[in-house]
Amino acid sequence: MAKPTETPKPEELTKVDYNPPETEWTETPAEIKPGTYCYGSRPKYLEEVGFPYAREWQPTDDDWKLPENWKEIVLDGIKERLGNYRSFKLFMDICVRCGACADKCHFFIGSGDPKNMPVLRAELIRSVYRKYFTPGGKLFGKLAGARELTDAVLKEWWSYFYQCTECRRCSVFCPYGIDQAEITMIGRELLNLIGTQTDWIGGPVANCYKKGNHLGLEPHAIASNMEYLVDDIEEITGIKIEPSLNRKGAEILFVAPSGDLFGDPGTFNAMGYMMLFHELGLDYTWSTYASEGGNFGFFTSMDMAKRLNYKIYAEAKRLGVKWILGGECGHMWRVLNQFMDTWNGPADFMEEPVSPITGTKFENAKTTKMVHIAEFTADLIKNNKLTFDPSRNDHLNVTFHDSCNTARGMGIFEEPRYIINTVCNNFFEMSDDTIREKTFCCGSGSGLNAGENMELRMRGGMPRAHAVKNVHEKYGVNMLANICAIDRAVLPPLMDYWVPGVDVCGTHELVANALVMKGEIKRTQDLRLEDLPGMEEESEEEGGE
């Protein structure tokens, strides 16, 4: 494996040349450059879940050791998917190449590579579709925009389908709603048919399948990680929380992205969930078996995604819960909103979700029986069930990053904003062109959050980072809140690179920081165990007026 390369400095990365090369795109082979691609998957990961053609392999190798009949496999794969997905068939046929999508892609804005224009990324596969599946392409070849499927074309697909984060921003602007995410997902399925997975996706998928979560945390490790968080909470609030794992008969199953139990600042968010539930006296349980809300299978194939997603309903049934509450995660919620019930439903063994605290019926989750925690908390606040001291967040000037999937595959915009505006006094929006449905990707979604492709990630995250930079300079924003575990993992390095001085947090970290809990000691530390400005121990002497 090649050593990770040094990422160029920000000043160099912003020198983007948007002029296309002299050579036609069909004559310009893809260059797989260090810093912009992910390593090939180790064979064991593919073997563990039964993906075909596992082998030692690297994208930079001349010989990818493809199966003898790889072309046939891929073409059959296209044929099958044309029959299974109207989206695919339609998106192959109706694009007029108006180019409205071009500068909507964060990878195009950040790299200038024309094949990162969604239209051209789609043409990579469309041209092959024409050659083998349309009369015009069969008859007129290149004149009809058709080309053969060759080794070089396959490598090009691989390169560019792993330079797309399936964020759907192009789809918002396309006059026909052509969704590059859909094309990338199908493109990656085809690449999976011949064993060309990336390591950073293959590993989490195998982990999640066997151990229940991407990080491969075994049950006792989950328990001990939670212990640490519980200890920290006790230190901060004086309250000992006892979360339960795999408890039968709980009213609610709580499923969060596993990243929240593992790395900062996700762990602060997990503390936030636990503190909130404790304060409410919620009858809930975590599960070690269904310990992953996210779904890296979604970045390999629909079947794999379904196999991983299966555990959530299966565990809800085994534990006999009434409904499921879901933590803050982006693609997790696209899956839960648009796919879960279709794959693994109907979830008729549960009840329609009702908040035990407010009595609110979550009618928008009537059949999936799964409620987003931002919906749950917003309802609590609206019904005055919580007491906050927002001044505990006064040292923070907060802005909110809408994650791609919750924005464009769900539309949860107001709930988190309502929460943040309640628990923080200083909230500032980024510019309209970069939030809500027009939000920019973190640059590392859909399994691109590896270490070896840092240049690509910094380029892709550039539009998001620059929008943060604007509010950082204008309003002194120093905290980037979000509702996505991938964001919590990848935005910190993005901020360090582009906007030093801006930290990243989940929304429920802010909630719990401001939450006034029954029986708590005077808070002098925030959830990060850092002193709360103006609330240090010694300041008590001045108090009392």
């Binding site: 948007y18 109706i94 024309p114 224009m117 066997k210 049950p219 079947d303 915009f413």
Partner: protein, 329 residues
């Protein structure tokens, strides 16, 4: 390459019809046979394509949500950009089809002074809308050639279209607008480097073809006038399946008709099918209600899963030592 090739093909089509009518006297072929064939190919091709798409499964509910979801009753729901019901979807589609809602959002993003900046840009939306609307009005206006008496609404449209009352016959704005919009769409394709880079012959060809149709139409109306009575005799004959080809119709008419026929024949095999496709796009025509109503995948199949029992078998001892309840002690 795409530009020159497409232009040559259109010029060739013009030449074929000109030679065919002027030298070979093939008025019947170009005035009757080809138009009928074109209409049949268009209708059959269009219907087949749309039926094929329509029959294709939509396994998952994948609307692109462009506004606030319907959730808690006190949160304002964006009914058109994130519809939760069929009514909302119809509204969203109407906005898309008649107002090009998505294109209206267009933003230009680029790097200025080391920073990514965004600005509104509406030219593509405006030209696209101008093109489609004027083409539609021109089409409606042409119904006068296929109906006797001419319905009142067509006379009204004609009157409105010619409201500027310039010249004799009155200048019809949509004809000029159509050619101007097509010219703009061509120029942006030819001169914006990124758009030129992605353009195929299939992008230039319909533009030249439609430009040819518009220009021959304008020439016929305002310059080398054709005998309109005789033209109507022919078109009425076509419409009533009682064909007749009167003598003395200018060649320009046959060129016009042949280019239209070419467009109709080309249509079902081309990107122009976006006309039918836009209605079928699953990212636009589905309601975002998949947490309320179960969306069924017609080809759903069982998959291999890792069950809880297998999981517990592997981790039972570790679970017990961590105090996590297990099914089998």
């Amino acid at each position: 390459m795409g530009i020159v090739f497409s232009l040559i093909v259109v010029i060739f089509l013009v030449a074929v019809s000109l030679v065919g009518v002027k030298l070979a006297n093939l008025q019947f072929l170009f005035g009757v046979v080809v138009p009928y064939a074109a209409i049949i190919i268009f209708i059959v091709g269009f219907v087949r394509k749309v039926v094929d798409w329509g029959r294709s499964p939509v396994p998952f509910s994948i609307p692109t949500t462009c506004g606030q979801q319907k959730s808690l009753p006190w949160i304002k729901h964006s009914k058109l950009d994130n519809p939760s019901s069929t009514g909302g979807v119809i509204g969203r589609m109407l906005l898309e089809v008649f107002a090009f809602r998505s294109l209206f959002r267009n933003i230009k993003s680029e790097i200025n002074g080391g920073r990514v900046t965004h600005g509104s840009t509406k030219w593509l939306w405006l030209a696209g809308l101008a093109f489609h609307v004027s083409f539609f009005v021109v089409l409606i206006r042409h119904l006068r050639f296929f109906m006797e008496p001419v319905p009142f609404f067509i006379n009204i449209i004609d009157a409105l279209d010619g409201f500027m009352q310039v010249g004799v016959p009155h200048l019809l704005i949509t004809g000029v607008l159509l050619v101007a919009a097509v010219a703009y769409l061509f120029l942006r394709r030819a001169f914006i480097p990124q758009v030129r880079y992605i353009s195929l012959p299939a992008d230039y060809f319909p533009l030249f073809l439609i430009m040819g149709i518009g220009i021959t139409g304008i020439i016929m109306r305002y310059f080398t006038k054709v005998d309109i009575i005789k033209v109507k005799e022919l078109t009425m004959g076509l419409a009533s399946l009682n064909v007749t080809v009167p003598d003395g119709i200018g060649a320009i008419f046959f060129i016009h008709l042949f280019l239209i026929s070419a467009l109709l024949i080309y249509f079902p095999f081309s990107k122009l099918m976006h006309m039918g496709g836009v209605f079928l796009s699953p990212t636009r025509n589905l309601a975002n209600n998949s947490r309320v109503v179960r969306h069924v995948n017609p080809w759903d199949h069982p998959v291999k899963v890792h069950t809880y029992d297998e999981y517990e078998d592997e981790f039972r001892e570790k679970m017990k030592s961590a105090g996590i309840p297990v099914e089998k002690e």
